[in-house]
Amino acid sequence: MKIKLTKGYDLPIAGAVAADAGTRDIKAAAVAVAPGDFPGFVPKPDVAPGDVVGAGAPLMHDKTYPGLKLVSPLGGRVTAVVRGERRKLLQVVVEAEDGIEPQRFDTRQLTREKAVALLAGSGLLAMMRRRPYDIVPDPCEVPRDIFVTAIYSAPLELPLAARVGEADVELLELGTALLASLTPGKVYISHDKTWTLGRVKGAEMVEFRGKHPVGNVGVQISNIKPVNKGESVWTLDVETLRRVGYLMKHGVVDTSAVVGIVGPAVEEPCVVRTSAGAAVAPLLAAAGVVADGHHHRVVSGNVLVGTAIDADGYLHYPYRLLTVLDNGDDIDEFMGWASLSPSKMSVYRSFPGHFLKRLFRPDARLLGGRRAMILSGEYDAMMPMDILPEYLLKAIIARDIDKMEQLGIYEVAPEDFALAEYADTSKIPLQHIVREGIEFMRKEV
């Protein structure tokens, strides 16, 4: 199957990793697992400070489904179980120690129940998402289909080759076989023209062409087989699929992470192999990010859907990208709205920069005041889905359950609105609105 999308936009941001950049290994001294990265997961800790855990051993479990775990990315000692307001569990920190055996999992003679339990217990199910609602899948439910995206189209993402290569074909096939046993439907793998691994046995391959958000799995589902009310599908990226295959082959969880350190404020963008949830300070130092008097913003993830973290914080799920840009709160710009400077990044042709084939160095300012929705069609142009974004957003704001259902709340995730939020002249926090709408639906329906 081949699908071409015409809507969307690739943000021309400076600070990508050079094509010939190699991968450096940086051993993580400490990691943290933050349950907030896994929407729908209500954490109960399995460990206390001082406990020794192996890589892949559970750190916490879900309140509703105790078999659903988040696991330690490395072997070591638990040094902190950090709680916030109302004792909400924020993160568990593990410091590396040598000589601790990784947790082993039994991968033989798997029935469907055992297969789900394996994924849930190894922390890999938590790395998947379920649509509707874009939450961690419910282990008791049977998904209609499973969608895997092998397209990383968000700004400054590493090329596919940095994540999976020829050597991983066997792992992908093993992973696909396991996933196929979980659904009566199909396992779809969406890829673009950079995919060189041929057909993965057991999967339905779909080739997409287009600009970001072509890599968003929600966009792919919408164009392959949309989610209807009462159905659910599971989604994951190809790296998680490889991890599933790795677990099947070796019986241990692959908790390593290939992280791109990118962005306009990064001196030497680079790729490092480290542990999931690693402390970011050594990674930033490796990429030459130093305190230079500018206010930096460190984002775990890409600039559209990432989480801003402290420079002494930890990587957040999906442990793929660390983007650094100027925060911009120390900049005074005289009449910026009238600017004809070619360094302004915009989807609009009133900015000369729009016509230049150049990369921009944007900062984190809103670049305007928040307004009501004024221009029409802005969101549509950024969403290649059969959704009327403006009307869905209004239904969400009005908390109108019927309208939300009718307009497709089950088909979307906050990330599908990210590009529209970037382009929005009225600077409305669209992802926040969608996230609240999804939470509301989960509570009410």
């Binding site: 209807n228 559209l304 305007g368 005041g369 029409s376 926090p429």
Partner: protein, 399 residues
């Protein structure tokens, strides 16, 4: 300096009653330092609402400058002048429109500032466009106090009561015009208001009392029997070329189709207005004009015009480019925009041709469709909902 003045305007400060005004000027002068939230998009497009509005104002400038020239030109014609000196004409036009623009902005922005302060909100820039549109779509001889009353009425009752910029249902500038049209018809139509006859702020020579000249559409509406001849201030017969260039009597900014097309090009190039709506209005107007012309009858003199000439006269082109495309009051779905545009074009010509009481229908057509735009969108949204429902039923019937 701004930083040091800020505390006085913050809540509790001695000038806190002007907090919104201070904010408004500060964000006008300096891009706000507000940054993205920790879990949102971390970069934003450079375009904002201020720039959007200013581009629309820039797109209006060719019409505005030509309006100045034409006001002077018509005045000189009325004086019986043989030569048309450029700069005196422009100066006269400028002085004639200056008080109107000043009054419109003063009244409108005053009300906006007051409402923003009352609601403790940032001042919004929607009136930048409305404020210049209002004098441009009124006859140049409109008394200032009427303009002030109409602007105040429109801003309060068409915009602020709905919640301000972005929430209004009908086009604010057109409400101001409609208010004048129905409250003071003598000053909004007829043969005495479209050519400036007095001194403009003391400049120029007054034209003799009793001078009259109607707009082309005014002449058509009052036409009875005989050949339809449209004549200008000095009695020469208009050609379509005159109407295209705009050297005809009419409301200040709307006579020149050429300048309107330049404005349209700016709006479309910068992506600030919908090409679907503009194309729809012109297509609808042409189509209805053609139908009217096929069934032409002397009872309805405007039906004698060929379809394409319908687009050249009156406020049709201006409404298509600057009024119908106001995104807040227009249809917001792509299909809806086509329907909305076509219906405006059709309605404008229907009113113009078949209602002899109203020589021009563009204003009423846009206002009418403003009201119906939500209904049009509702139908388009229903189609999306039905598609989703069909998918669901197909699935249920399969299983």
């Amino acid at each position: 300096m701004i930083d040091s003045a800020r505390p006085a305007f913050e809540p509790g400060g001695r000038l806190s009653a002007f907090g919104s005004v201070f904010d408004g000027f500060e964000t006008f002068l300096f891009t706000p330092r507000t940054v993205s939230g920790p879990a949102s998009v971390h970069v934003h497009d450079a375009n904002d609402s201020k720039r959007t509005m200013i581009i629309v104002v820039l797109a209006l400038m060719p019409c505005f400058l030509f309006g100045m020239y034409n006001t002077g030109y018509q005045h000189w014609l009325a004086l019986g002048a043989e030569e048309m000196p450029l700069w005196p004409l422009m100066l006269y036009g400028f002085l004639a429109i200056l008080p109107k623009v000043a009054v419109s902005y003063f009244v409108g922005l005053g009300i906006e500032f007051a409402f923003a302060q009352w609601r403790k909100e940032e001042i919004q820039e929607g009136f930048l466009v409305t404020g210049i549109l209002i004098p441009m779509i009124c006859p140049v001889e409109i008394p200032l106090w009427m303009l002030a009353v109409a602007t105040a009425f429109a801003v309060v009752f068409a915009k602020e009561v709905f919640g301000g910029t972005g929430y209004n249902i009908v086009n604010v500038a057109l409400v101001a015009r409609a208010f004048l049209f129905f409250a003071y018809p003598g000053h909004m139509s007829g043969d005495k208001v479209f050519v400036a006859t007095g001194k403009a702020l003391g400049y120029g020579t007054p034209v003799a009392d009793g001078f009259t000249c109607a707009t082309p559409l005014g002449q058509i509406a009052t036409h009875s029997g005989g050949d339809l001849m449209l004549t200008g201030v000095d009695g020469h017969v208009f050609t379509a070329w005159d109407a295209f260039l705009g050297l005809i009597p009419g409301s200040f900014g709307e006579t020149s189709v050429l300048c309107i097309l330049i404005g349209a090009a700016v709006l479309l190039f910068t992506g600030m207005a919908s090409w679907r709506i503009m194309a729809g209005v012109f297509a609808g107007g042409l189509c209805m004009g053609w139908i009217a012309n096929v069934f032409a009858s002397p009872v309805y003199p405007a039906s004698l015009l060929p379809a394409w000439e319908q687009l050249l006269y009156g406020g049709f082109a201006f409404a298509a480019v600057f009024m119908a495309t106001d995104p807040v009051t227009a249809a917001r779905t792509n299909t809806g925009k086509w329907i909305y545009g076509v219906l405006i074009g059709v309605m404008a010509v229907i009113i113009r041709v078949y209602n002899n009481g109203y020589p021009e229908g563009a204003m009423l057509a846009v206002l009418l469709m403003n009201v119906f735009s939500s209904l049009i969108d509702w139908c388009v949204v229903q189609a999306n909902i039905r598609r989703r429902m069909r998918r669901l039923t197909a699935k249920t019937s399969e299983s």
